[in-house]
Amino acid sequence: MSATLAVLRKDLRLELRTFETLPAMVLFSLSTFVIFHFALARTTISGQLAAGVLTVTLLFAALLGAGRLFVAEREQGGFDAFLLAPVDRNALLLAKATAMFVFLVVLEVIAVPAFGLLLLGPPLGPRLAGLVAVIALADVALSVIGTLVSAIAIHTRARDMISPIIGLPLLLPALIATARAAAPVLAHRSAASPPGKWLLILALYDVVFALLSYAVFDFLLED
């Protein structure tokens, strides 16, 4: 656990020092909202369409961020530094996934209100709690898969391409669940809380892939 905290601390400190990842994710999201506004040619969107737009934007911002997760490790000898320490290798997985989760939360604090402002129309208000629940579960999925796929891709030659082409199909079930769960929350009239069935599927997905990643991560690090 202390190793996980050490790595997490180091990663957050590095991000605060260099700002390489978070601003890019935020700018990307905001630009994407503008693009969607023009591409869809509507004053406001709601319901399933809004849920889809939000989900897709978060997905691509997450993939952007995930692609940078292990770059410093790879280029500045960080893997060796970690592997030389007498610690559980999974600490790296846990730390990186947590860092990714933190980045996503910070991103969403900015992007979701922006989404509400630019695309949604009526204010989110009381429905926010439901949306937060959906996004939180989605963030876990994005963090776990993002970390796993990034760790696989970092040692390949075409690392920026491999990451998304593997990550997207893997994330599809989680994305379907996210978009379906968020749809009723974002409806203009008679907004409702997210359906339990989809939250359950999302939670199941999170648990299964978290366990799977935990089981295989060691094999990605060893040589």
Binding site: I152, I162, V216, D223
Partner: protein, 242 residues
Amino acid sequence: MISSGRGLRALSLATIAMITLALALVFFYAPLDANQGFIQKIFYLHVPLAITALCGFVFGGLLAIGHLRSGDRKWDMRSYVAIHMALIFGVGGLITGSIWAKASWGHWWVWSDPTLVSFLIVMLLFATYQPLRFSIEDPERQARYASVFAIVAGAFVPLNFIAVRAAQGVVHPRVLTLTGSKLPGSMGLTFAISLLAIALLYVTLWRYEMAAKNARIQLRRLRRAALGEEAAPGVARSAAPS
């Protein structure tokens, strides 16, 4: 033992016999569908191809577990061939599925069908298997990372089907349920034989490709031992285990 050519002839004969039997049943025994006509018979090709492909992917994942646990590269070879074969069968399944969709519902593709959509997602995932392998140059790492991928992707197959099924209504005719086949007798028998034939074909081709690859590897090793390094220079970057 699996990788040598032993037993291959018997297996091939059994496969050919099964395929012949299946064809005979499809054309002469199974009833003609009232609505869809003759083209419906592609169902006997499509569903077995799809089922075999999916099982092949999961099989590849299980073999990959064997590789990671034992560290023996033979298992990686088995896993690679299993997934490779399953991809080919899967493409066959997608094409025949599209033909059948056109015949049944008038469209080459329907989004409302969860089975078709799940299958597409799985194929999209496994299509990245070979590019992934090809982009890792160190052969040890390539094999290890491919195995990690195969395990995660293999576990993904059932999960994906659950999620997509929950998402959409059911348009795809559910022919196999937990309580047994819903097909009338003659169709059921034909289907079972077709499935068996395609599965046997998969296993036979799997063993053939492994035997061929192993023969090539052994030949290269012998040439190196006998004639020195220059006689058989190292394999250039490749996606296949060597």
